[in-house]
């Protein structure tokens, strides 16, 4: 890994495998209400798909997927989604993270709780994905890994 390998077979295998891992990650996040899974596992799968491209293709190829400066804002957005959901419920007159008070019209309280859980799972997934990529990027800074 320290020496520069230009192996097209490894790059082709990683490019073949990476989108399916990413789709499976989004499936785990959004299907977490019915099957095992959730925000943390789905976010780790999304990070694994991008880390696979970073290890296999080097920085020059994997910059096309997600840039390095975009990871910290994504983490902040993920945490902010969670916190803003709780604050919106509090501003509407409930407790912190009380999903019954979310301002979505035309839904009974169990459906409101359903959609509230879905929103915070997406927030958790974004934050976990961005932070795992951020740790990797800061570890390999200064060398072009291939």
């Amino acid at each position: 890994m320290r020496r520069q390998f230009d192996s097209p077979i490894v790059l082709l295998g990683a490019r073949l495998l990476s989108p399916y891992i990413m789709v499976f990650g989004w499936y785990v996040i959004f299907h977490g209400h019915y099957s095992p899974g959730g925000g943390f596992q789905g976010g780790a799968l999304l990070a694994a798909s991008i880390l696979l491209m970073r290890v296999a293709g080097g920085r020059r190829v994997s910059r096309l997927q997600i840039r390095e400066f975009a990871t910290t804002p994504l983490a902040i957005i993920g945490v902010f989604i969670y916190f803003a959901t709780g604050l919106t419920a509090m501003a509407m007159g409930g407790y912190f993270l009380d999903y019954e008070m979310l301002p979505l019209p035309g839904l009974d309280p169990p459906s409101l709780r359903y959609y509230g859980i879905l929103i915070i799972e997406v927030g958790i997934g974004l934050a976990v994905m961005a932070i795992l990529i951020m740790i990797f990027d800061n570890m390999v800074k200064g060398e072009d890994y291939a």
């Binding site: 993920g78 993270l97 169990p110 859980i117 915070i120 934050a127 932070i131 800074k141």
Partner: protein, 105 residues
Amino acid sequence: MKALKVLILVLFAAVLIYAAGDLPYRGDPDNLMHAERSITNTQVKGSYFIQNAYRDARTPNMVTVVLGDYRSIDTFGEQVVIYTAGLIALLVLRRTRTIRRRLEE
């Protein structure tokens, strides 16, 4: 020194196996943690979650309801912990331009 290491590992494994012999059986319905009332005759939280999770949130996966709804502030703290770990990694491992220039001089 190697024999001492192996001896310590074997003794530790023996202690752990002896302690694990006293655990209750897996999935035993007569366990205290599976009962509806605890020893002090208060309601066990887990039985409430099992009975009312689908009615409260219309979600079949009970674990998601406990993590995302009943214990959501706990999950929020967990996410703040992960975020702080990422920020610490950013601050410790980042090589700024000034430090590199100072090292080169």
